[in-house]
Symmetry: C2
Subunit: 104 residues, 2 copies
DNA sequence: TCAATTAGTCAAAAAAACATGACTACCAAT
DNA sequence: ATTGGTAGTCATGTTTTTTTGACTAATTGA
């Protein structure tokens, strides 16, 4: 059992939720790449040096659940999936911008 | 060995460093309490329900190393230690402010 | 001098996060 | 029919983070 039992993913400090949604080994990089355009699984995997399917899949799923990314099935030539920043995800660029002043 | 070998705590994505400095199970709460005034170890421990000495000590040390908190020995009545937000730490309030728009 | 409060450290265990390798399933082209 | 690309899942193992409980050491008040 976890030590503090709060409703559902609710932290005692508001920022905790956002921090969790953005942190982890791959999420910041995924977020950054998503700013440049839609992401595709295998391509992403190749771009994230040292990553692996499992971790990337988990990160994508969590970011989707957190409404940062939106997953779309693209009905085209090779029928594939795209991950794009949601409206909320795009708005979060302000959070990253605010961090840029602290690059020690 | 870690999968990516970059200089020293340098991440491939600038925000990663800041995110690391602020995340962890206790850091956001500690940060928040520090906004209200100087922190003292035992008092902090009591306020952070479900925490433990070790984790709090580690968080404090890391936040000090990241120049978020400053540790001071206070030469007073019961001779104690205080943790206060550094200039940089205080400035980081803007990062937390920017997160407040995303309280899902 | 005894007990409490100050602020921790240390070794070990438990829990959470991350990585590995095998496997699945669909579609398209050869 | 087989190969290769799409996007994953699953069980397992390793690594990192967090917790537990015992211990230390200086200071203070009775």
């Amino acid at each position: 059992m976890t030590t503090n039992n709060l409703p559902q993913g609710e932290a005692s400090c508001p920022a905790e939720n956002i921090l969790k949604q953005l942190s982890g080994k791959w999420k910041p990089q995924i977020y950054r790449l998503a700013l440049d355009g839609p992401l595709r699984f295998n391509s992403l995997l190749r771009q994230l040096q040292g990553s692996n399917k499992q971790s990337v899949a988990t990160a994508l799923k969590e970011m989707e659940e957190a409404d940062i990314l939106v997953k779309t099935v693209v009905q085209e030539k090779p029928l594939h999936i795209e991950y794009t920043l949601s409206e909320r995800g795009l708005a979060m660029v302000s959070v990253f911008k605010s961090m840029e002043g602290f690059l020690n």
